[in-house]
C-alpha cells in the first residue's frame, strides 16, 4: 500500500516565496547526508561538515548542492564498517 514515493512527483511547498530545493535530487542529497550523519556517524555532523568545507573551498563557485553531493561522495570511502549482526 505504501509504495515508495518518487520525489520527482512531490509538489514541494514554498517558504518565504522561495523554493528551498530547486530539484528533487537536491532534497535527496540533503536527506542522504542526514542518513549518513545519523546512521553511520551516530549523529556526529563533523565528518560530513569537514568534507563539505573542502568541497566548497575546492570550487567556490560550484552550485551549493553540487558541492554537497561531492562532499557526500568523498565521505563514502571513510564510512565506518558496519558490523552485521
Amino acid at each position: 500500500m505504501t509504495t515508495p514515493l518518487s520525489l520527482s512527483g512531490l509538489d514541494l511547498p514554498r517558504r518565504n516565496g522561495e523554493l528551498a530545493f530547486d530539484a528533487p535530487w537536491q532534497s535527496t542529497a540533503f536527506a542522504l547526508a542526514a542518513a549518513v550523519i545519523e546512521h553511520a556517524f551516530g549523529g556526529d555532523r563533523e565528518p560530513f561538515r569537514q568534507q563539505l568545507i573542502k568541497a566548497v573551498a575546492a570550487e567556490p563557485d560550484r552550485p551549493y548542492w553540487e558541492s554537497w553531493t561531492a562532499a557526500l561522495e568523498a565521505l563514502v570511502p571513510t564510512l565506518p564498517e558496519r558490523s552485521t549482526p
Binding site: E18, A23, H39, L52, V76
Partner: protein, 197 residues
C-alpha cells in the same frame, strides 16, 4: 539488484551521481525505507522560520525566557520543542539600539535548520559569505537594511561549536499583542540579521 529509477526522464550527471549514492548507501543499510521522504517533508513543510519566530516572540514577552535563551540557546529553543540536526550549540545574539547582529557561515553555509528551515539561496552564495565578513555595512545596505554609522555591526561566523540565531528588536507599537500576533511579525531575514523589524 537493479537500481533502476522509477522515472524514465534522462538524468543529468549530478542526478546520476545522487542516484548512485542513494543506491550505495541504501545497500549499506544506512537509508531506512521512507527516510528520504520523511526528511524532505520535515524540512520542506514542518520546519522553517515560523519556529524561530515563536522563539523570538516568546523572548519578547517573557523576560525570564529571554534570559535563558541568551544563556543557553539550545536548551531554551528545545523548551519550545525545536531541536535535532544542526540545532545543537545554538547561540542567540540580541539586537539592541546600539548593536546589530548578522549571521554567516563562510566555510560551508551552516544554518540553524530547526529554527529557520533551509537556508535561502543567497545565504549559500560566495558573494554573501565573503562580503558579509569584509564589508557588512555596505552589503546590509544593498540588501535593504541600511544602518546608522553609530550602530555597531557584529558578524557571527558559524562553526562546529556555534550556530547563531539573531534575536531581533521588538518593533514599536506592539504593546498589546499576543505571542502569536508577535510571531507573525518576525521574518526569516530578521533572524539572519539582514533585516530589522
Amino acid at each position: 539488484m537493479s537500481n533502476s529509477p522509477h522515472h524514465q526522464a534522462p538524468m543529468s550527471p549530478v542526478e546520476r551521481r545522487v542516484a548512485a549514492l542513494e543506491a550505495l548507501l541504501t545497500e549499506r543499510g544506512l537509508v531506512p525505507e521512507g527516510f528520504i521522504e520523511q526528511i524532505t517533508r520535515r524540512y520542506e513543510s514542518e520546519t522553517g522560520p515560523m519556529n524561530g519566530a515563536k522563539v523570538v516572540a516568546r523572548a519578547w514577552l517573557d523576560p525570564r525566557y529571554k534570559q535563558r535563551l541568551l544563556a543557553d540557546g539550545t536548551a531554551a529553543i528545545a523548551e519550545l520543542g525545536f531541536g535535532g540536526p544542526e540545532g545543537d550549540h545554538m547561540v542567540v545574539v540580541e539586537n539592541t539600539a546600539a548593536v546589530h547582529n548578522v549571521i554567516v557561515c563562510t566555510l560551508c553555509s551552516c544554518y540553524p535548520w530547526p529554527v529557520l528551515g533551509l537556508p535561502p539561496a543567497w545565504y549559500k552564495d560566495p558573494p554573501y559569505r565573503a562580503r558579509m565578513v569584509r564589508e557588512p555595512r555596505a552589503l546590509l545596505a544593498e540588501m535593504g537594511c541600511p544602518l546608522p554609522e553609530e550602530v555597531e555591526i557584529r558578524v557571527w561566523d558559524s562553526s562546529a561549536e556555534a550556530r547563531y540565531l539573531v534575536l531581533p528588536g521588538r518593533p514599536p507599537a506592539t504593546g498589546g499583542m499576543t505571542e502569536a500576533e508577535l510571531a507573525a511579525l518576525v521574518t526569516r531575514d530578521s533572524m539572519i540579521g539582514v533585516a530589522r523589524l
